[in-house]
Symmetry: C2
Subunit: 62 residues, 2 copies
């Protein structure tokens, strides 16, 4: 499977906020994320970087 883990940057820490992310949709000041099991979450912030080969999504609230 090709899902990724989503992390939220807090200072110099990266907090894992969702595993196995399938769908990602930036909205006004938020990011909608959905995992492969249908779990959903809206996170305040924006996408900072994604690295698909490393299965990493990094969100930030900066």
């Amino acid at each position: 499977m090709c899902e990724a883990n989503a992390y939220l940057l807090k200072g110099d820490q990266q907090e894992l906020i969702m595993e196995s992310v399938d769908i990602l949709r930036p909205e006004e000041g938020k990011v909608y994320i959905q995992d492969i099991f249908g779990g959903q979450r809206w996170v305040e912030g924006r996408i900072k970087e994604m690295n698909l080969v490393q299965h990493r999504i990094l969100l930030t609230q900066d």
Copy 2:
């Protein structure tokens, strides 16, 4: 491999702009994308939606 293809939404068409995308980084009004071979491109626009299981990244200039 878990890279994805990037498409740019133009009207109701989706134009394939890069295959095998590895890294994706939204910047001011642009999106930086890099493929697994090191090819780089900056696309004017923003991320509309990503679907990792379907290996699809959709950008828009709306």
